[in-house]
Symmetry: none
Subunit: 220 residues, 4 copies
DNA sequence: GATGAATGAGTATTCATTCAT
DNA sequence: GATGAATGAATACTCATTCAT
């Protein structure tokens, strides 16, 4: 985590540094990111960089917690359209809201997901806590769905979490990769065509999951 | 593609070089792979490396075609347990057979998938043909399933292909990542527990896909 | 142009680096100059070199502007022996003064002229401004000569400039090439023999140019 | 000089090798020419190259003698338009005929002149004999001109030779550099505009040289 | 607390030449 | 006589990090 010296910096200066880092990570990943370029494009000195952060990875970890924090606040500001949603409706709302957040921070999302997916194995240990938090959220969701009788109680919760994670990532990758090619990414992600495709992807998952374990057994 | 000089090499020497390359790519991806390390660990000189290959990417492309060729031969040597399988049963058999192949070449699989997934955007053009071949196979499968009445004809074929791809990759990632932690990866992948989990992942996909488009519409 | 870091260096260190570069360019030209050798013989590290300069060419461009600046100052310190010279007398004085400067910086002159003449085609764009300044000076001279009635007004000015350039270069090459073989190059260049030869070379040019265009036409 | 093995080669194969070498030297000079590329583009093996030639320089020396021989034959096939030319008319005819030869072998000319002018200092010793032969020819000419009373007997012969050399080179450089930019170099070099410019350059030299030594003395 | 110069190992790739077959 | 694989030093340039001021 960044040193106190960084946190003491005026908001504005911090933003300049962070923006430079986001751009660098989005374009080059973590291993290939260049601290030289980051300091050059943010206008701070080499020495300062190492007075603010332990190293490259430290900067990245900061972005990661920043993303988590901002996403949480974004969700707090939004409210599900209805209070009577079942768990899958709620998940769908969450995914879509998440995609809205992603498209409004496309570079940050790109930077984080690029590193987490492609370099994740190497830096995996460092990301463990973040991943675990996400998994816990999904697990709580699926357990709630079971409690509400929306999902067969015999379902394998671990498996369901894994599937939801996979699906979330697949949709996120689709949205960022395709979205970055568009002129107005926000407009694009809100278009009927995109929303429909996300819906369909989620319905496939939903109907697969709703199918009871016992039915699985029967059909093997 | 490698130069003739490489193909002329004695089988054994070629294997040493290829193994060194596989290890390097598995650990560092394509962009960060070091030709220095490859030559050092395979015991050839720098000059020789460039007499065998055009460049780093050339080595990787060779691995890619090698993987394709070997996988094809592996499948040729196997036979589906029954001739009367429906399309999803066949797909399941294919995935499982593919996983067996992957676990018998874990490093190669890791190297290829790491590069294809994470650096795919940058080297995308070069991999296009490989990806297209896979996509064509899946598309043929889904069309067959429709023809046989196993899937509702109104299904969005593009979407279905995307889902099958996502699923195949997710299973492959699960098998390799978890499998690499085991002592005996082959024994592990054949264990009832793993086979069951793969089955369940595929059933989720299958039941999701079997659901007709019209049903999707109805439930939105 | 060199980075600020280079300009901040103590005079003495700068001189060591510049001298090493001059020697390298004089001996190997620009394309074949080795940054490795420059850093080795000037005792700085590779990293420092690139903190001082953009690249090899950057060093050379610095030498070029340095030469221009020093030559200009050298001329400022000298005064034509008489105010009543005609244009050709003035040109002769300039050439000779230039040769004095060249022989007092023989390696620098050699480095620059080697690169400008032999590699000029490749780096031509970068040198364009320097060449143009020279050409403009010569053109002003010839136009003055015409205005004063020293040269026939029908003379082809472009041609005359080209001839004067050729001649200047030829004399410069003669002085440097022959001079480098002498023990005391300054003494040699001031010797009656050399001065006479330069005079004669210039007279050939002068009488050729004084000849009017119409006379050329007549004699074809 | 090439080894006997090269001279034993069938005419056609020799030509292929020579053409590859010419192209390489024209594009890269001597020091930067790559034997690798020469053998690759001429289709011979690395080993053969070194069985034909000592090294890179050896190939170049062969080109040099080849050029001399071919130029001589070219001149033998041509005849001066009139037998009653004075020496300067003859020189003018020679230069122009030489330029015709050059433009009909532009790559060879470019290769040779590029190396002789720009890398000449380093390989100078090796080219000494060629240069000397040229100088002897020019010296004979000027002496003939004196004998015929076309040039003042008190002229400095060394100086005159040097001037003629300079002039020849300047014209040659002009013709090759400008000519290479044209579509049809042969047509261009024979155009009235180019011929006129060459004439004028030579007249300047001629009138400069015709001027007697005594006149020079008088005007100093 | 801020600076920015210094560093040497690192990168991918090309080179001319040798020599065993 | 022909081959072509092998080589290791060479190339320009970038890197993350340290540390004295």
């Amino acid at each position: 985590m960044p040193k106190q010296t960084f946190l003491n910096l005026p908001e504005e200066k911090r933003k300049i540094i962070i923006d430079a880092a986001i751009e660098e990570f989005a374009e080059h990943g973590l291993e290939n990111a260049s601290t030289n370029r980051i300091v050059a494009s943010s206008g701070i000195s080499k020495g300062s960089f190492y007075q603010y952060f332990e190293d490259k990875q430290d900067v990245f970890m900061y972005l990661l917690t920043m993303l988590e924090r901002e996403k949480m606040e974004y969700f707090k500001g939004k409210h599900p359209p209805s209070a009577n949603m079942d768990t899958f409706q709620y998940f769908r709302w969450m995914i879509k809201t998440g995609m809205e957040f992603n498209t409004s921070h496309p570079l940050l999302t790109q930077a984080i997901s690029r590193v987490m997916f492609s370099e994740g194995m190497y830096y995996g240990r460092n990301f463990a806590s973040v991943r675990e938090r996400t998994a816990r959220g999904l697990r709580a969701m699926i357990e709630q769905a079971i409690a509400r009788g929306e999902v067969d109680p015999s379902v394998d919760v671990d498996l369901a979490v894994m599937i939801m994670e996979t699906w979330t990532n697949a949709i996120s990758a689709y949205v960022i990769n395709e979205g970055m090619k568009q002129k107005d990414i926000m407009k694009w992600v809100r278009s009927a065509k995109v929303q429909e495709r996300i819906d369909k992807m989620l319905y496939v998952m939903e109907y697969g999951l709703r199918k009871t374990e016992s039915q699985f057994e029967a059909s093997v």
